[in-house]
């Protein structure tokens, strides 16, 4: 029989190969999408689909042609960053207070906030739609920003709370004894110490807002529509612009993919509502 060491190495090799196989299979659609974005429309629609072809950049260069890509991308950016910034401004003080001035009601308040995230958006589609209609907020970036802030606020508070909890109370007490006011304590000691965790919180909020595909589809038309809506419009049978679709999709997904890769470990906390750490 093979020696233990030899067997282990074969095992690892087999497992490794299997793992690679599975990963490549799962990643394949994304790979194919990126590949297709470099094809001409004819190549993209070819039967059978081509693995080798002459690449072209025309889809990227003309990305603005069919529809105003930059307009939609800008909407995505404004809405994601806007809701994240406003969200953090509300969330950080709340998380600070709950982490360092815990009262009897803190835990239940936190859980209640989380439960609002579990409310299915579709349940309130009607009133929100009508409300926005009456207030003239349909198809506005402001409207989306407000909605996104509301749906992401619980997670932001939650994540910030768990990261603040990890900061030893005594360091903040030392700052207090050194003469720091509340604002100085937060700005000069707390935030620098928790900047890693807060960065993950910001990233998660950006990812969730960028990819949000319910309100963005229902509350916008053309003015404020973000990239999710732009892509959805490619489904109309206007023409089979597969290559262009791939290019637009790649562009739309690239930043979030990178965000996700970079912060995968930290995101688990927020994604699992803290139940997995």
């Amino acid at each position: 029989m093979l020696s233990l060491k030899h067997r282990r190495r074969v095992n690892t090799l087999l497992l490794g190969t299997l793992a690679w196989g599975v990963a490549l299979a799962i990643f394949f659609p994304i790979f194919w999408m990126i590949l297709t974005s470099f094809k001409t429309e004819i190549d993209a629609f070819a039967t059978p689909p081509q693995l080798f072809f002459t690449p072209t950049l025309e889809n990227y260069l003309l990305v603005n042609e069919r529809s105003d890509y930059f307009h939609f991308a800008w909407n995505s950016v404004v809405v994601s960053f806007g809701s994240t910034i406003i969200g953090m401004l509300i969330a950080v003080p709340a998380a600070y207070s709950m982490a360092f001035f815990e009262t009897k009601r803190t835990k239940s308040t936190l859980l209640w906030m989380l439960s609002t995230k579990m409310l299915p958006s579709v349940g309130v589609l009607v009133p929100i739609y009508l409300l926005f209609k009456d207030l003239g907020m349909l198809d506005t970036r402001l409207g989306l920003v407000i909605i996104y802030t509301l749906i992401n606020l619980p997670i932001m508070i939650w994540m910030a709370y768990t990261y603040f909890k990890e900061i030893p109370k005594e360091v903040l007490e030392a700052a207090r004894m050194d003469g720091a006011t509340l604002l100085q304590e937060i700005w000069k000691v707390l935030l620098p110490m928790s900047k890693g965790g807060l960065a993950s919180t910001v990233l998660l909020s950006l990812i969730l807002s960028w990819n949000e595909a319910f309100w963005s589809l229902n509350l916008t038309a053309s003015q404020a529509a973000p990239l999710t809506a732009l892509i959805a419009s490619y489904s109309s049978p206007e023409g089979l612009f597969w290559a262009k679709l791939s290019a637009v999709s790649t562009l739309a997904c690239a930043p979030i993919l990178i965000f996700g890769w970079v912060s995968q470990k930290q995101l688990v906390r927020g994604l699992s509502f803290g139940a997995v750490k």
Partner: protein, 367 residues
């Protein structure tokens, strides 16, 4: 001037009363140690003085000015935390200058102060390092340095040595004593280690379950404990306690009978005791002598002998199943199971009534 006075301080967390009425006077330049077992309230007391905990009732005065409700930074106190609580994102220099910068002091003045503190604590070469690059002892010195630059009226230390290894602890103890001498400041120091209390303090405050058991100099508490708790808390190894019954008492002392049947006569006041009342005899290891098994006041069987080299501590079980700790010379030859005779230095023994209170000695001896 830095005189601290505490009047009837009480602190409760909801239903639980942690501090049950503390009255204390601390004089300028004193090194005061709060000592006691876990949960006795010593840290809570310190933090209340610092302003990090709110008091339920009572008052704290610093130089006759009430500070009970003041914010911590306004009390002119500085605290060294058990975990040092250094700012991890700031350099050593910045850690020490933070408070002064917050107060808006002149940059050059800050620089001078930091340099001076660094010199006293030998932190010069470390000034630009971050806390994570420092050893435990170095971090602790930075924590102390942070307090020194503010030149507060009172220094507060919350178990500063408990995170250090044994050798470092001894070294830092000496440095702290030296620091107190050099700075000539008032220091309040919290610890559960009675060795630190004995070696560092001018005044020891023994706390138990939220109350002060006794206040006095280390020697005072060691030789004249006010009650059984203090007697058993200070001194290593612990004082041995033997239950006894009073037989008779007069102006020369009190005659008691031990469980083993032996009778001893102690030179203590007979006022508070009556014939038949239960008392407890307390005797320190260094005040018991081992003799031949047919001599001595009573006998016992040797259980364990701990040879430390300089001394040997023998754990003896008497016929009446009582436990005694005896200090013997380093070359003691006793073996497990040996029967030994024991003699007591009666003038050094303590007698406690049935409430654990010490019964007065007729003449004060030693320290």
């Amino acid at each position: 001037m830095a005189n601290l006075t505490i009047k009837n301080l009480k602190k409760s967390y909801g239903e639980v009363e942690i501090l049950k009425g503390i009255n204390l006077d601390i004089k300028d330049h004193e090194f005061v140690v709060f000592v006691g077992p876990s949960g006795c309230g010593k840290s809570t007391l310190l933090r209340s003085i610092a302003g990090l905990e709110e008091v339920t009732s009572g008052q704290i005065f610093l130089d006759n000015k009430e500070i009970t409700e003041l914010a911590p930074a306004k009390r002119d106190l500085a605290m060294v935390f058990q975990s040092y609580a250094l700012y991890p994102h700031m350099s050593v220099r910045k850690n020490m200058s933070f408070a002064l910068e917050l107060a808006g002091q002149d940059k050059d003045l800050i620089e001078t102060k930091v340099t001076e503190a660094a010199r006293i604590l030998e932190l010069g070469p470390l000034l630009d390092r971050k806390p994570k690059d420092l050893s435990g002892g170095q971090r602790q010195r930075v924590a102390i340095g942070r307090s020194i630059v503010r030149h507060p009226k009172v220094f507060l230390f919350d178990e500063p040595l408990s995170n250090l290894d044994a050798a470092l602890r001894v070294q830092m103890r000496l440095e702290l004593a030296r620091l107190h001498h050099d700075l000539d400041a008032t220091m309040i120091y919290v610890t559960h280690d009675q060795v630190e209390a004995m070696t560092l303090a001018d005044k020891v405050v023994v706390l138990n379950q939220g109350r002060i058991e006794q206040v006095g100099s280390p020697m005072e508490l060691y030789y004249h404990p006010a009650n059984q708790f203090v007697a058993g808390f200070l001194g290593m190894p612990k004082m041995s306690f033997l239950p006894a019954e009073v037989l008779a008492g007069d102006q020369s002392g009190v005659q008691i009978e031990l469980a083993s049947g032996s009778q001893v006569h102690l030179p203590v006041s007979s006022e508070a005791v009556t014939r038949g009342s239960s008392v407890t005899l307390g005797v320190r290891p260094e005040h018991i002598q081992v003799t031949g098994k047919h001599e001595g006041v009573f006998k016992g069987r040797l259980d364990v002998a701990e040879h430390l080299g300089s001394d040997t501590y023998c754990y003896v079980k008497t016929d009446a199943k009582e436990n005694l700790t005896v200090r013997t010379p380093g070359d003691f030859q006793g073996v497990f199971g040996d029967t030994v005779g024991l003699n007591l230095d009666l003038s050094q023994c303590h007698l406690f009534d049935d409430h654990g209170q010490a019964i007065h000695k007729l003449s004060r001896s030693a320290a």
